[in-house]
């Protein structure tokens, strides 16, 4: 696989040759890697088609089983029984683990999964291992994802009878840019080139834009602007987007996302059924893993049944004298997960507020993802959006991958004689990006929900007399202090002239291009200088695993000596 990574890197240099080749442009495929399930779709020349694996399935379980030498993923592998996935040998939920450090609450919640997630709680990557021949064999979320993507790629190549390189992947709204680099790394390991990483609800928005355009054509309608609210809740994440659509252009007005999903519903209910769960499973012995698996399957089945039933019997013998036998009411399930549902409510309200819209302004409410079948989730969305009906033109489990396939075709430069690909997504930033200034404050330069591509700049100045250097810490997030946001990178500006504090003008400019690449430009401005110090251009993120340490170490080493403060705009004194 190492060679494949190099192939990816060198491929960019050979684009000149491709230009002259008469072959059709390669259509990028759309991949939706869900926490629990995944799917692949591609534009087949007239419409989007979901690819089926050798078992004729469109939706495949996202997991990789480690056995002896050859790991096998959910694309080609067929489990004899659900319990096989819970034997300790299978790693799943990698989307919840990728790019997270061991102090992250999401990682801690993953310790109840039937494989090994070990934390040292110091801000490094967690230790993840699968049980192979009664030994814990270590791996990483990137590696697991890459193995899975290799299988997906092989399947797509067989189906399409051509090599597959370019992909559009859907991602949760709440992913940090650091997490995006981990996804890109996994793709590179699998020999795939990422054309776009598309927030899941924006992929759904593109599908909606296409549907609206088609119905406008059919009805000879004016194709006036339509506002849609998209609520997407899967096993790992909950996302909301608001899009304004007309003429095939989907303009993302606001995005909101959080790490709540079906996995939380499941874990909360498991805790409810077996309050001593954490204690019982903490040793991670082979027997405990088996019991954990039994409880997991029983709870999952119960949740599925509660979507149509008002109560469901649970009967599971965990061995060792632990038996759970009871009737679970739907109301009980909803009460246990009150906080999760509240978070969903908050997200929708925040998204409406950020888009400066009222519920009445929304034309269509679209709900997709595995959790869209849960009555409580549907009720929440309908009550906040004040309507009786939800948009019905989409398969909730296929909408995101279909949108990704459309984006793949559009971004590959494919056009359709019937105008089905006259589409465009105008994306917005899901999180603010800024730097540390005024102490440990986060000063956003590109705000959340800003349309991209975008370029913004702001001036800063020194805090000490004769301060010759300054450190630029770049963060992403929406919290007031930098500690609560994601560190993307840092670099030093030198050559500040020896003048009193507050005099030098330090300019920080941030640029996000159409491919969502973030570049930070920074330097000192010396008016009238013949030969000013060169500006720095830094592609972000630059941090690697364990990045929380580097910021702390820098603060410890330099204190506030290299700090910056914002320059107040005129009229704000």
């Amino acid at each position: 696989m190492a060679e494949q990574a190099y192939t990816v890197a060198s491929d960019s240099e050979t684009t000149g040759e491709e230009k002259t080749s008469p072959a059709f442009p390669e259509i990028a495929i759309g991949i939706d890697i869900g926490t629990s399930q995944c799917s692949v779709a591609v534009w087949n020349g007239s419409q989007v088609e979901l690819l089926r694996n050798t078992r004729n399935r469109k939706l495949m379980r996202s997991y990789v089983t480690f056995k002896d030498e050859v790991p096998a993923g959910g694309v080609s592998d067929e489990l004899a029984h659900e319990y096989d996935m819970l034997s300790g040998a299978a790693i799943f939920n990698m989307k919840r683990l990728i790019g997270r450090v061991d102090t992250d609450p999401v990682v801690h919640a993953s310790k109840n999964l039937p494989f090994l997630v070990q934390t040292l709680d110091i801000g490094v990557r967690p230790f993840i291992a699968a049980l192979v021949n009664k030994m814990w064999r270590s791996t990483t979320p990137e590696e697991v994802l890459a193995i899975f993507l290799v299988e997906l790629r092989a399947m797509a190549e067989v189906k399409l009878r051509r090599p597959v390189r370019n992909v559009v992947l859907t991602i949760p709204v709440s992913f940090s840019r650091f997490q995006l680099t981990r996804i890109e790394r996994a793709c590179a390991m699998a020999g795939l080139h990422v054309l776009r990483l598309m927030p899941e609800p924006t992929a759904v928005a593109l599908l909606y834009a296409q549907q609206q355009q088609q119905s406008a054509h059919e009805n000879m309608g004016s194709g006036s602007e339509k506002i849609a609210l998209i609520f997407n809740m899967g096993a790992g994440y909950c996302d909301v987007a608001i899009t304004a659509t007309a003429g095939g252009v989907s303009q993302i007005k606001a995005l909101a996302g959080s790490t709540v999903g079906g996995e939380d519903l499941l874990q909360n209910l498991m805790h409810h059924l077996l309050p001593s769960m954490d204690h019982i499973f903490s040793s991670h012995g082979i027997e405990e893993i088996k019991r954990m698996g039994l409880l997991r399957v029983a709870t999952q089945d119960a949740i599925h049944q509660l979507s149509s039933e008002m109560s469901v019997p649970i009967d599971v013998d965990l061995g060792n004298g632990t038996k759970i036998s009871k009737f679970l009411e739907r109301a009980e399930f909803e009460e246990v997960n009150k906080e999760v549902f509240q978070k969903c409510e908050t997200l929708i309200k925040r998204c409406l507020c950020d888009a400066k819209l009222e519920a009445e302004d929304v034309h269509d409410v679209i709900i997709v993802g595995g959790c869209s079948y849960i009555p409580k989730v549907r009720n929440i969305v309908m009550s906040i959006c004040k309507r009786e009906e939800l948009y019905s033109g989409m398969n909730p489990l296929e909408a995101a991958v279909r949108g990704a396939a459309l984006e793949g075709a559009v971004a590959s430069g494919i056009s359709d004689p019937f105008g089905s690909l006259d589409l465009l997504t105008i994306q917005a930033t899901p999180l603010s990006i800024g730097i540390q200034a005024d102490g440990s404050n986060f000063v956003p330069i590109i705000h959340q929900n800003t349309t991209t591509p975008v370029r913004k700049e702001q001036n800063f100045t020194t805090v000490h007399d004769n301060q010759a250097e300054a450190l630029i810490f770049v963060y992403e997030g929406d919290e007031k202090t930098v500690e609560d946001n994601h560190l993307l990178g840092y670099f030093k500006i030198t050559g500040i002239p020896p003048v009193p504090k507050g005099v030098p003008e330090i300019n920080v400019c941030m640029d996000i291009d159409a491919s969502n690449v973030l570049r930070v430009f920074a330097g000192v401005i010396i008016p009238g200088a013949k030969c000013p110090p060169p500006f720095m251009e830094v592609r972000m993120p630059t941090v690697d695993d364990g990045h929380a340490w580097s910021a702390q170490t820098l603060h410890k080493t330099y204190g506030s000596t290299l700090d910056l403060v914002t320059v107040k705009k005129k009229g704000q004194h």
């Binding site: 696989m1 190492a2 990574a5 190099y6 990816v8 890197a9 960019s12 240099e13 684009t15 491709e18 230009k19 008469p22 059709f24 442009p25 990028a28 990483t140 990137e142 890459a146 370019n166 680099t181 890109e184 790394r185 590179a188 390991m189 080139h193 990422v194 054309l195 006036s224 602007e225 007309a246 003429g247 095939g248 252009v249 559009v410 430069g413 056009s415 006259d422 465009l424 997504t425 105008i426 330069i445 349309t451 591509p453 975008v454 370029r455 913004k456 700049e457 702001q458 300019n507 400019c509 291009d513 159409a514 491919s515 690449v517 430009f521 401005i525 500006f535 251009e537 592609r539 705009k569």
Partner: protein, 177 residues
């Protein structure tokens, strides 16, 4: 083994989006339209800078001041709409131009400039689609027109005061990428 090799890959910038490298591009992008308008996009940048304080200013500009056009394009000219355009017309114009100028749909040889073009279009749109910002902008615009008439030149004192920090800028040339 795997991670070292991929790290190497990831530290290099990603391959440029070469998606338009093969096949016939001419049908995809009405590049002529982009070209015709690029003249006043550059000039309009100055107008953007005065309204949106956070947008880049002319720090990196190497152009002498006397190259400033007498009357930079207004947001209305950028969107190619009359001054009395309705909100619907503004939105429709924005979408129409985005379908041509957005980097996702622009031809490969236009990729670099299309992001700049799109940002200018978006800047015009975001001001004109907000009633308060539009009213404020219209006031500035009419003041500028008056002063230009009075002094018959773009470098009149009042025109300059109305548009502080107003110089042409062009990120491609300024940054020397």
């Amino acid at each position: 083994m795997i991670s070292t090799s991929t790290r190497l890959f990831l530290q290099t910038p990603p391959p440029p989006v070469n998606i338009f490298s093969s096949g016939d591009n001419s049908a995809l992008s009405p590049s002529s339209l982009t070209f015709r308008q690029s003249g006043y996009f550059t000039a309009a940048a100055a107008t953007c800078a005065s309204v949106e304080t956070e947008s880049p200013t002319s720090r990196y500009s190497t152009l002498p001041r006397n190259l400033i056009p007498a009357s930079p394009a207004s947001f209305y000219e950028i969107l190619d709409i009359p001054m009395g355009a309705t909100v619907q017309e503004i939105k429709a114009a924005y979408r129409r131009l985005a379908r041509v100028c957005h980097p996702d749909v622009a031809a490969i040889d236009q990729k670099d400039s299309s992001a700049d073009d799109f940002m200018k279009i978006h800047s015009a749109y975001s001001t004109l689609s907000d009633p308060d910002k539009r009213a404020d902008y219209d006031r500035r615009l009419s003041r500028r027109h008056r002063s230009i008439n009075l002094y018959s030149g773009g470098c009149s004192p009042s025109a300059m005061s109305g548009f502080t920090g107003y110089t042409p800028r062009n990120w491609e040339t300024d940054q020397c990428w």
